[in-house]
Symmetry: C2
Subunit: 368 residues, 2 copies
């Protein structure tokens, strides 16, 4: 999407073909810097340090990581080792496993000497497909926004989103934000309520930045505020992304998504989850018991990153709690399918249920 | 309660009787400083700047503010003017109006020359009653914690709380934290999940500080995390305070309380609200439409206050969003009575309903 009028993607291959470049998302919104990835270790580090994040972008980065590994050593042993190392970088998003399995299924049958070139080609294809997939999600989601607009003539459609499921979380377009960009680009008046999304503030740091750079009207709110807005009829639609979706439509997404889904349900606000089918984990059913939830460092809760509000404006971290206070930091929660109005996929919108998902993806669904 | 072994209150009269001293809560947890209040303007400023906050403490501070006003000018005109000015400091908490009306009903019948002394006496009485009221809330709430403990032998009772309804929000004991202090002081093992409570982080700054200083085990969590903890059976009880309660038991409390009540309801976790009867607004019924919700400065959302995490450790504010991002800042939300397991008052625990409240407070309830 656009940064001040100039089109960007979140990951791209360098002209020399040797390396890929990503936007360092840990520095946003205070600095726009890119990082070069050349080795599997670079790719793994970019994922674990969250320079890149978002389920689809994690998958794309891991695919390039495996291509770097094949360039270093295309043996079966290294293919297995590098895949395992990349798979271990983050536990919750399933696109990571999906991307690595896809790469392995292409590379395994090949002779060692053919693997590096094939791996780069496949990683690039995976990225292009991600863009096309998200554009399709955008088109399907657009019809939901248009329906909401027809119920609210003369005023903007007010959409609440949580965390960042924008183009920064994917190669381009985003998942939850793809319909928003499409609607905005067609001149549909919108107002996006952006949850700040503690502890890492991806809403404040990434979603507000994306929407602002692209020119989409929005306002930042604390994660506590969405229920109040919905109680007072100030949200027409909730649109969020997903890190992993089970075969029955339970959704693991950024911590706090479940609370917003409860509020939407309590107030009759449609709650939609946008996801590429690569986010569906067909092997599991019950999200609450079967999706591992990453626990991260307590410093993410105890400290907040920002830019000095007075004076210099330099980036820094402040501690918000007393020195001896302990913290717990769960990165995701699971929203049960019963609270979800629908899933927006690249093949269309469907109810969050095993039968609807199996009907929409007969080629992917595993037998019950 | 205790600060490192030494007993404190949140507001106290200076030995010379001329002024009152409060803990400057805007500086916690990074600095412990007290502020002297001598004039009605001092009291009003302490409330608006949130040096003092919490419905009961706001009421107590306003009562002293009116006493200062009577010392300056005990005329009927000034009694009305000063009351109006103090009433305008915060819109949502009803204890403010309650305290000022109580003061006026004592002062109005008196001759002007008797008003100043009577006002100080009444303000002091109001503070002492607040302490006794909260101690009673603590005793009634203790039985709920003991009941939870009997269901969980051999492990701590895990209580989730939102914002700060501790001794800092009252003259002493607190409302939601009073039962927790009593249980802890009796040796009942507890673990408190402390919501950080964006945007002002009263959980991280005040509740974590209070509990830490008094020695109560706890962990800080982001506001997004409570639903996940409840889904996984890691919360036995939710205990929160209130800024205003309607005659039918709807509760206005810090923004985000409603989301936690939804999660508690969805997971069968008992959700209790602790409040002195002075927090009940007997004139209104429907909290959603009848309680005014304060909107505060967007800087509270866009910036976070803390102490530099690396190096110097000085207090500062950091901006978390891009420079041009707008924000909306609603300070409270309303939890409908249907989501509340019970109200813990100084007279006992009752269901959140008009009939139960009228039965418990026949002397206060207005005819339907």
């Amino acid at each position: 999407m656009l940064i001040d009028g100039k089109p960007y993607r979140s990951i791209w291959r360098e002209p020399d073909g040797d390396a890929v470049r990503v936007i360092d998302q840990t520095l946003l919104p205070h600095a726009f810097e890119t990082t070069l990835l050349r080795t599997p270790a670079d790719a793994a580090r970019a994922i674990t340090t969250m320079q890149v994040r978002g389920a689809p972008l994690i998958g794309a980065t891991a695919a390039y990581g495996l291509a770097f590994a094949m360039r270093e050593d295309p043996s079966d042993g290294n293919l297995a080792r590098a895949s395992a190392a990349l798979l271990a970088t983050r536990p919750t998003a399933v696109n990571l496993r999906w991307a690595l399995e896809r790469m392995q299924s292409v590379l395994q049958p090949l002779g060692a000497q053919a693997r590096a070139a094939a791996a780069f080609t496949e990683a690039e294809l995976l990225c292009e497909e991600d863009v096309a997939t998200n554009a399709a999600i955008g088109r399907h989601g657009l019809s939901l926004i248009e329906a909401a607009a027809s119920l609210a003539p003369g005023r903007p459609v007010r959409i609440l989103t949580h965390c960042n499921a924008g183009w920064l979380a994917t190669v381009d377009w985003g998942t939850a934000l793809a319909p928003i960009y499409m609607a905005h680009d067609r001149g549909l008046p919108l107002h996006v309520w952006v949850d700040e999304t503690r502890p890492r503030n991806q809403g404040a740091a990434l979603t507000a930045w994306e929407l602002g750079r692209h020119g989409v009207p929005h306002a930042l709110i604390v994660d506590n505020a969405g229920g109040h807005l919905m109680q007072h009829g100030r949200v027409d639609l909730c649109l969020v992304g997903a890190d992993r979706v089970t075969r029955q439509g339970d959704v693991a997404n950024k911590i706090g998504t479940y609370l917003k889904a409860l509020a939407a349900h309590d107030n009759g606000v449609p709650f939609y989850v946008a996801l590429p089918s690569s986010t569906i984990d067909w092997r599991i059913t019950d999200g609450l018991t079967e999706i591992p939830i990453e626990e991260r460092a307590e410093a993410e809760v105890l400290e907040v990153a920002g830019r000095m509000a007075d004076g210099g404006g330099q980036a820094m971290r402040v501690r918000i709690a007393p020195p001896e206070t302990p913290a717990a930091n769960f990165a995701f929660d699971v929203t049960p399918a019963r609270l979800i109005g629908g899933l927006i996929t690249e093949r269309g919108v469907c109810p969050a249920s095993a039968s609807a998902l199996a009907t929409l993806f007969p080629d992917l669904a595993l037998p019950a």
